[in-house]
Symmetry: C2
Subunit: 150 residues, 2 copies
């Protein structure tokens, strides 16, 4: 499901240039580029949380903070990049995810920790959430692409 | 995952009135109401496909066609309803899905038929696709809600 979701995300941005990736629809909108980096940043956050049981450190927050939070900081910081930049960052993050998952047994998916509002969540849910967030933003990317090219 | 996706969809439309549900952002946009009915229509389509191995019949297409296809027919036909209307239709469709799934064994999920471009897809993928499409539109609903209320 993660792989399929990513396949559709990448299909939906195929052929986009810098102008479309940087397109800001209105004062509240995130660019397609920022949404792509957000997807990579969420995956990075869940790598730290589930593989190492920790939050992002200061260096990682410096690298990913704007993409994680979106909004005004992301509008200022994330722009001017070609599609290869975003696809490359998505790919490097995913390679680490798949390598880490490959080192674990299926029962790891059932391991629970306190999560949102302290309620227990297992690793299966956490990685489901990574791709459900991606699909949510893929819907926004599709919507924005039609306007960015319009 | 289906249940969680639906929970988030319903949370994201909580409290919306007819004006917001009918809000059309631009000439190409679908309303939040139309997107909610689209979600119910896709689920109805996959009920017919996976539980009965058939397409929607003429009566069902009359009921669901505009919601399935979205765009101009949906902008004309789907409007003026309160949130209860959409939530009720989503609930009735979901009740049937859960009842039908409950009648089947897990191995049914592995049953394959030729699907997109004739490539084999099993029932697990088809029902994954139902909620991945919902999550895609949930992302659009979140985006539209901020503008509809703005």
């Amino acid at each position: 499901m993660m792989t399929y979701a990513r396949h559709t995300t990448l299909s939906d941005v195929e052929g986009l240039g810098v102008t479309q990736l940087d397109y800001i629809h209105d004062a509240q909108s995130n660019s397609i580029g920022a949404l792509l980096l957000h997807v990579a940043s969420v995956e990075t956050w869940y790598q730290a949380a589930t593989f190492e049981g920790r939050d992002l450190n200061a260096d990682e927050m410096h690298e990913w903070g704007a993409a994680l939070d979106l909004g005004e900081p992301a509008r200022r910081a994330i722009r001017g990049h070609g599609l290869d930049y975003y696809v490359g960052r998505l790919r490097r993050v995913r390679e680490k995810t798949l390598a880490e998952l490959a080192r674990r047994e299926d029962r790891w998916l059932d391991e629970e920790t306190p999560f949102w509002e302290g309620r227990p969540a297992n690793n299966y849910f956490k990685w489901f959430h990574v791709f459900e967030d991606e699909l949510n933003h893929r819907g926004q990317i599709r919507w924005l692409r039609r306007r960015a090219e319009g």
